[in-house]
């Protein structure tokens, strides 16, 4: 007797959505999915449209056992439309899509979780719609705070360069010439951890689900500078958690640290993690997000003199003001990474 056990050729999912659909704004449709029916709703925001919502695949099945999970493909990738105009990819458009998805799914209020560039739309949402966001988790936020990686500032995106080594590949002309080559480079920098070939392969595949022309448009739409970022930070009143990998080779650890500093909010540094710890170390990252149910703490002292508008907290207070969750790893240690404030850099994922 002989039996053949087959390996599936197409990626299956650990969990399939309970509800899905499209919302349309100004002729642009985005595709959303809902998993589970618990409380609260965890809203996994889109990141830069170089990937679509499948990058949350290690979070969805787990979180949906404990909460209701909402996610959608950001315009420009996945099952969402790919408008041609740069203006269609403005952060305000992504934020408006997010609200439209919440409305379409009857979601009054949610915990938002963002990765990288998703931080910018998350800040917009949390600052401008405090009644709809109970908490915000930022994973390796790409915001215009802190310092950029030095190796990333030498090659302007729109110039023609002689070389196409390393970060010179982060260039419009190179993308149009060798899109896959760019994706391979970019995602190899995204996963600095050993044994990440599967994660890199997945991401390249998702990158190939869109095209270089669309990606150029999304890149040109990134305009949120330091001042605007600081202004948004000052208006956010829900509790935040910043999860940052110390070996992040896309934005560096400086951005995440600076966001936590700027808001006076909680920072968890994942030692040795790259730019996508939720993909490469999913158990640890989930653990972190799970323990973030705490009330908003005070602002950092150095910001005491800045504008205080919108600071009255509308977030529900849970607990006594001290942390109830723990990251009780014996290996835990308080990091003493020095932070410094630089100006004028725009964060680009």
């Amino acid at each position: 007797m002989s039996v053949v056990v087959q390996t599936p050729r197409e990626q299956t999912r650990a969990r399939y959505p309970d509800d899905q659909g499209y919302v349309e704004r100004d002729g642009v449709r985005v595709y959303y999915e809902v998993y589970g029916s618990g409380e609260p709703t965890v809203f996994l925001l889109p990141t830069w449209s170089i990937m679509h919502s499948r990058h949350w695949k290690m979070q969805i099945p787990y979180l949906a056992r404990h909460a209701r999970v909402l996610t959608f493909d950001g315009r420009g990738n996945g099952k969402s439309d790919r408008p041609e105009e740069v203006a269609a990819y403005a952060e305000e458009e992504h934020a408006a899509d997010s609200l439209a998805v919440m409305d379409a799914t009857g979601t009054d209020r949610a915990v938002i979780v963002s990765l990288s560039l998703g931080a910018q739309r998350a800040l917009l949402l949390a600052a401008e719609h405090p009644e709809r966001f109970a908490r915000a988790v930022f994973i390796c936020p790409s915001v215009s705070l802190g310092r950029p990686l030095p190796e990333r500032v030498q090659y302007p995106f729109e110039d023609v360069h002689d070389a196409d080594e390393g970060w010179a590949k982060y260039n419009r002309h190179y993308w149009l010439r060798d899109y896959r080559g760019f994706l391979e480079f970019f995602f190899s920098r995204m996963f600095t951890e050993q044994h990440s070939t599967k994660q890199i392969e997945d991401c390249i595949g998702w990158g190939l689900d869109t095209n270089p022309e669309t990606l150029v448009a999304t890149r040109l739409a990134i305009t949120m500078g330091e001042e605007e970022t600081r202004a948004l930070c000052s208006r956010v009143c829900c509790p935040l958690l910043v999860i940052q990998g110390t070996a992040d080779a896309i934005t560096g650890e400086s951005r995440g640290i600076a966001l936590a500093e700027e808001t006076g909010e909680e920072l968890v540094l994942l030692e040795g993690s790259g730019h996508a710890p939720h993909v490469r170390d999913p158990s640890r990252s989930i653990f972190s997000s799970e323990t973030s149910s705490r009330p908003r703490s005070r602002r950092g002292g150095h910001e005491a003199g800045r504008g205080a508008s919108g600071r009255s907290s509308s977030a529900p207070r849970s607990g006594s003001g001290t942390r109830s969750g723990t990251l009780a790893s014996p290996a835990s240690s308080v990091s003493s990474i020095p932070t410094s404030r630089s100006t004028g850099w725009r964060s680009i994922p």
Partner: protein, 314 residues
């Protein structure tokens, strides 16, 4: 104290997610010890208390019993699991003589471990060369072996891959490309390079860097001289005597073999299943170590087989 308690100037902590210096285990043995035969000690471990006992046999001594690490925690939830480091590997001794590494020696060690752990009967599971002593045990000690699972069996019942029959193991070669690395002179000079090549061929599946790294590390726990002795001993196992051994096997046999196995052809697994009247399960896309690369699939197949033992009329 929780470092994230309020009061700190910044709620900041660092969580180490890098690889631990030493690999931790999902489950630690409930009992361990040594058995000695003719001055050679081997190290065994026992996990769990269920019924029956699943006996994870040593394979070629190039790796030790940690290669079962993805089976032990799962199987121990359902059965009692017994394993040991084969002579030449892990915490077992490394005798110098070739005669110390014949399949008969491994089978005798296995019996000694069964005795030392008061294990009357067990379902044996053997990988690659482990099928040689597993078959020997099943044939010669039918009262101790309830059933046998063989994964990627390395048995002389069908020809090897043609590319493995090109180069001599003993002679000095003028090339070290590909399987020419399977050569005693190359091992002595470039042991780690051999291990990297060999385990690269073991894991033909994509995304196997972790498994390869593990195995290379285990391979470095013995010397090329010891490995040469084991190789010389194994090459003594002949076709005729092994075919006779197979004929004496009466217990149920399950053979799992990857159809992409680059170490041992599927034909060897198929021939072993046929010779022992067992069942062949072909694992599509798998290489030589599906239990390390596709543990869930393999664990479920082992569990199903072991549970079918209990349902057999005695």
């Amino acid at each position: 104290m929780d470092r994230r308690l309020a009061g700190a100037k910044r709620n900041r902590m660092t969580v180490a997610v890098g690889s631990p210096i030493e690999q931790t285990r999902a489950r630690y043995p409930d009992e361990d010890g040594y058995v000695e035969r003719d001055g050679v000690r081997v190290f065994y471990e026992v996990y769990g208390h269920g019924e029956p006992t699943v006996f994870l046999l040593p394979t070629w001594s190039i790796i030790h019993s940690r290669h079962w690490k993805l089976q032990i925690p799962y199987l121990a939830r359902h059965f009692r699991v017994l394993t040991f480091d084969g002579r030449g590997s892990g915490k077992a001794d490394r005798p110098a003589e070739v005669e110390a590494y014949t399949e008969g020696q491994f089978a005798a060690d296995a019996l000694a471990v069964l005795d030392a752990t008061r294990t009357e009967r067990a379902v044996v599971v053997g990988l690659s060369c482990g099928a040689l002593w597993g078959t020997l045990l099943a044939a010669d000690d039918p009262d101790r072996v309830e059933g046998a699972v063989f994964i990627g069996p390395a048995v002389p019942l069908a020809p090897p891959h043609p590319e493995r029959a090109v180069h001599s193991f003993h002679e000095r070669l003028d090339t070290d490309e590909g399987w020419a690395k399977y050569n005693r002179h190359y091992w002595v000079k470039h042991y780690e390079e051999f291990l990297e090549y060999f385990f690269g061929r073991i894991f033909t599946e994509p995304h196997s860097t972790k498994q390869i790294e593990d195995c290379v590390g285990w391979g470095l726990e013995l010397t090329p001289e010891t490995l040469i002795a084991t190789e010389e001993a194994l090459s003594l196992c002949g076709l005729e005597s092994f075919r006779e051994t197979c004929k004496r096997v009466r217990c149920p046999v399950l053979v799992l073999h990857g159809d992409e196995d680059a170490i041992r052809p599927l034909a060897q697994g198929a021939a072993l299943a046929e010779a022992t009247h067992g069942t062949l399960v072909t694992l599509e896309g798998s290489g030589h170590c599906p239990h390390a690369r596709d543990p869930v699939k393999v664990n479920l197949l082992i569990r199903e087989f072991v549970e079918s033992m209990a349902r057999r009329p005695t």
